[in-house]
């Protein structure tokens, strides 16, 4: 089924935000917003949930912590304990102070890289992928709101157009997607 999309272009982030507020209060569903920088406060209006990447970073960090601990315990305590200058490695706990720097560094390394990879993956921003912004100026100074007609079948196209234009959209574009 062919899908009809309206791209409403705005010249200012605040105008787009107040327009989004008005449209949503009337029951319009906004599918997407493209902007050249983060518009603070737009997410709750158009129903974008907060990302859980922070939680993922914590879990990756825990993984790093665990790996570092297990690895150093195995290497320094079990597999090849050393006795340098009459100072044996002893148990893991006795030697733990010397392990703190590497444990910390490895935790940070896993948390940061794990989160960065997840971020790129979830965003579908990976080397070689094509861009999907509707207009090249959405990375410069244009703010575009995407409405899908199938999600807004309470309204006619004309009603939507009218609402967008009165709320400050400077330009409307239509697109059919198969």
């Amino acid at each position: 089924m062919a899908e009809r999309i309206i791209y409403a272009t705005y010249e200012d982030d605040d105008v787009l935000k107040s327009s989004a507020k008005k449209l949503v209060s009337k029951g319009v569903r906004i599918a997407e917003v493209f902007s050249p920088f983060p518009i603070h406060g737009i997410d709750p209006i158009i129903g974008v949930k907060n990302t859980r990447l922070g939680i993922m970073a914590f879990l990756y960090g825990l993984t790093g912590l665990l790996l570092a601990t297990v690895g150093m315990k195995y290497i320094m305590i079990d597999d090849w304990p050393m006795n340098v200058g009459g100072k044996p490695n002893g148990t893991y706990l006795e030697n733990m102070l010397a392990f703190i720097p590497v444990t910390f560094e490895f935790t940070v390394m896993c948390a940061a890289h794990g989160m960065a990879i997840t971020y790129l993956w979830k965003n579908k921003t990976l080397p070689g992928l094509p861009a999907s912004n509707p207009h090249p100026r959405t990375t410069d100074d244009r703010f575009v709101m995407e409405l899908r007609l199938s999600e807004n079948n309470k309204f006619t196209t004309e009603e939507l157009e009218d609402m967008l234009q009165t709320s400050g959209a400077s330009e409307l574009d239509f697109k059919y997607v198969k």
């Binding site: 605040d14 997407e32 493209f34 902007s35 050249p36 920088f37 983060p38 518009i39 603070h40 406060g41 737009i42 158009i46 974008v48 907060n50 990302t51 990447l53 922070g54 970073a57 960090g61 690895g71 150093m72 290497i75 320094m76 597999d79 090849w80 050393m82 340098v84 490695n89 010397a98 392990f99 720097p101 590497v102 910390f104 560094e105 490895f106 940070v108 390394m109 940061a112 890289h113 989160m115 960065a116 971020y119 790129l120 979830k122 965003n123 921003t125 990976l126 080397p127 070689g128 992928l129 094509p130 861009a131 999907s132 912004n133 090249p136 100026r137 959405t138 990375t139 410069d140 100074d141």
Partner: protein
């Protein structure tokens, strides 16, 4: 929503729009490079090639070609390593710590400071690697199962902690920097006309489209990476200082080292940022974004960290006497009055006296003075490392082994060479990458831009502006 105290100086001068920001940052990339760029690049490239040649000669012959000897096993190599790591501390401090503190002025300098960080840490990493003499065995510092029996690396050694600290710092800084660059590469991708650059920026931008959810994730990733990088900045130079502090050499065996090294690193890093930014803002006509206020903020950081460093020098000197340990006392007396007195007093002059001049407002707001002091600080910080390393070991417990260090041609060649390589990378960055964070700057335009600030209503516009100027 976009309010900020009226008495704060605007961070973006002039009457800029979002589009102006894009144009101002992209123009130096889209235009032909000025002749000055080619001149600088050629000079840097010649020095870099010379440096690579010296490194090849060093690797082919052995590290004996340096001026080191049996008493002084560490000299310029580790001095340069610590110097470069120190310089590499400003970028992540600016982008991470200042992000956590919501300091908006960071946005004018974070991109190029982070680039500088990455290249500086890269140069730093070169020194321990070539100091191994057998570069190709560098992977032995990794804890990998191997064919030599159960031979592992020693996790009790600060030198190994350094391997982890530097590699984590380098890779996390790189990722942090690149994640910020992706949206700006997308801006360039959507602007440039010529097919090859378009393809290049298209690949570099990873298909970024600026959807609301992408920006939502972007902000959290930046925040969490900043949170992770903040302790990382402090840990890296603390661990570098452990290389010395955990030893039993008088002059190195000092508990004050970690905070003292971190302050020194930030001090030298900001000085290098000043040196580079003062040139870039002029060459790329970015005076509206990096202006006197930004330079002043950085000078205040230099003043504060410089005072911490100065306090540390004096504390160290006092404790060496107060401890009652004669070896410790001698190490410091020898530094100040022995054969290396000139190095010690260069360090003291450059690092203790010069930052104190920043208390004077006209001086810290003077661009020429700032440029001069930034060079002085970088020289001083190199001497600091040289003094700590060489003067502590050149006279050890056995007077028969006392020695002096004279830099060889290779010492100088490799050091100058890394400066050349650094500038080759930095100039390439400045030519092809957006030197200011385009997307981030747009977020502060309405709160800190001159044309929006203090003009909430049109009828108040005139009175506010006249009182401001």
């Amino acid at each position: 929503m976009h309010k900020e105290a009226a008495i704060r100086e605007p961070l973006i001068l002039g009457h800029k729009t979002y589009h102006d920001i894009t144009v101002d940052v992209c123009k130096p990339i889209e235009d032909k490079a000025p002749r000055g760029w080619y001149v600088l690049f050629t000079i840097a490239l010649i020095i870099a090639i010379y440096g690579v040649g010296c490194i090849m000669y060093l690797l082919g012959t052995g590290i004996g070609v340096w001026g080191i000897n049996k008493t002084i096993g560490w000299a310029w190599d580790i001095t340069n390593f610590v110097w470069w790591v120190g310089i590499g501390h400003a970028g992540t401090l600016i982008s991470a710590v200042l992000l956590l503190f919501r300091q908006k002025w960071r946005m004018a300098i974070n991109r190029s400071a982070e680039a500088m960080t990455i290249f500086a840490v890269f140069m730093a990493g070169t020194f321990p690697l070539i100091h191994m003499g057998r570069l190709w065995l560098g992977y032995w510092t990794m804890p990998i199962p191997n064919q030599f029996g159960s031979l592992w690396v020693n996790f009790n050694s600060p030198l190994l902690w350094d391997v982890f600290a530097i590699s984590t710092y380098l890779s996390v800084s790189l990722v942090f920097w690149y994640i910020g660059l992706i949206p700006d590469f997308a801006t360039l991708r959507d602007r440039v006309k010529r097919p090859i650059p378009k393809k290049m920026y298209s690949i570099l931008s990873f298909g970024w489209s600026g959807r609301a959810k992408n920006w939502n994730r972007f902000e959290i990733v930046s925040l969490v990476l900043a949170g992770l990088s903040t302790p990382l900045v402090f840990s890296v130079h603390s661990i570098v200082s452990f290389d010395f502090a955990t030893s039993v050499i008088p002059g190195w065996h000092t508990t004050i080292f970690p905070p003292y090294f971190v302050a020194g690193a930030v001090f030298s890093g900001f000085a290098m940022v000043q040196t580079l930014m003062l040139v870039i803002r002029k060459a790329f006509r970015l005076e509206a974004y990096i202006h006197t206020r930004h330079i002043e903020y950085m000078n205040i950081v230099i003043m504060v960290t410089g005072s911490i460093v100065g306090t540390a020098y004096i504390t160290e000197l006092f404790i060496s006497w107060y401890s009652g340990v004669e070896y410790e006392a001698y190490a410091f007396l020898n530094r100040a009055t022995g054969p290396y007195w000139w190095a010690y007093w260069s360090m003291m002059t450059c690092n203790v006296i010069s930052p104190q001049l920043m208390w004077i407002k006209p001086l810290r707001r003077s661009l020429y003075f700032t440029f001069f002091i930034s060079i002085v600080v970088n020289i001083g910080m190199w001497f600091e490392r040289y003094v700590i390393i060489v003067t502590s070991i050149h006279r050890d417990y056995l007077p028969a082994a006392w020695s002096m260090h004279y830099p060889s041609h290779m010492d100088i060649g490799v050091y100058i060479g890394t400066i050349g390589i650094f500038f080759v990378f930095y100039l390439l960055f400045a030519r092809f990458f957006p030197v200011l964070p385009i997307a981030e700057l747009k977020t502060i335009l309405k709160s800190s831009g001159e044309s929006y600030k203090n003009a909430p209503d049109h009828h108040e516009h005139e009175s506010n502006h006249s009182s401001h100027h």
